[in-house]
């Protein structure tokens, strides 16, 4: 598979893989962590139909000023408890989450966020994106400092 502009995130949790996977696919859990710091993700405005073709819609609400950030995505692959892929309808961004059991109560989550706007669909672009854009960003930020 050709690589695109990808961002990678990974984190290890002290919890069984099934539970971590459930947190990512159950709105009752997602509502507690989907919004980053200072941002809520109300349960009653969330749809998580975790099956291929199912809707994944959320609204993040800024606690300070009430501004809203809606996101509409569709699940592409749902393979409990190891793989979850969805694509955002409005940005074309694809998010692939992999869950690895490091032990009975230890799970590593790897998230690959692929930025695939229309401009990326050109074959010459797909062929070229082989290294981490993230590393490049860090490098440039270092130059600017």
């Amino acid at each position: 598979m050709a690589e695109h502009a990808e961002l990678h995130f990974s984190r290890t949790f002290e919890a069984p893989r099934e539970l971590v996977f459930a947190c990512m696919t159950d709105a009752d859990h997602l509502t507690h962590f989907w919004g980053p710091a200072g941002i809520s993700a109300p349960r009653d405005r969330m749809t998580v139909d975790a099956r291929p073709g199912g809707a994944f819609t959320t609204v993040m609400v800024n606690d300070a000023d009430g501004s809203e950030y809606p996101t509409n995505a569709v699940f592409d692959e749902v393979r409990p408890p190891e793989l979850l892929i969805w694509t955002e309808s409005h940005t074309g961004m694809r998010v692939r989450s992999e869950f690895f059991a490091l032990g009975p109560d230890r799970t590593e989550v790897r998230i690959h966020q692929t930025f695939v706007p229309e401009a990326f669909l050109a074959p010459e672009v797909q062929a070229g994106f082989s290294s981490s854009l993230d590393r490049f960003a860090a490098y440039l930020a270092g130059l600017a400092a």
Binding site: F13, E14, L19, C23, H32, P117, F120, L133
Partner: protein, 126 residues
């Protein structure tokens, strides 16, 4: 305050063009070189096993994306990295990294709450 709106709204054409331009390793190397100062096509081509027309093609892509500019008047037309041109792309990356960092922090707390009998080991970052 991080602007989370910028990543949930329609991706704008400028950001698309920036990312597309940066999708190529040669173009990323050119941008890195220009971050240290202006350079002519010949100077830019030197580290690559690539013909001048080959490099020129990459420069045209970078120019169209607005990441670099070239002087029309000077004989050697030095290339110049546009200050701030990368800001949109860098902001997008920073915002997304922070979004997921903070989400995963909260998920770590939630998982500890869901397993009250377990000893909390604190966030382990991979």
């Amino acid at each position: 305050m991080v602007n989370y709106g910028s990543m949930t709204n329609q991706t704008d054409a400028t950001l698309n063009a920036s990312f597309a331009a940066l999708a190529d390793p040669t173009r990323r190397a050119i941008v890195s070189r220009l971050a240290r100062g202006d350079a002519t096509v010949t100077e830019l081509a030197a580290p690559f096993a690539m013909s001048l027309p080959g490099i020129s093609k990459h420069l045209k892509v970078l120019e169209r994306s607005g990441l670099i500019s070239r002087r029309r008047d000077a004989q050697f037309r030095p290339c110049h990295l546009e200050a701030g041109a990368l800001d949109g792309a860098l902001d997008w990356i920073t915002t997304n990294r922070r979004l997921w960092d903070e989400r995963l922090d909260k998920l770590d707390t939630l998982l500890a709450d869901l397993q009250p009998t377990k000893k909390r080991s604190g966030p382990a970052r991979g």
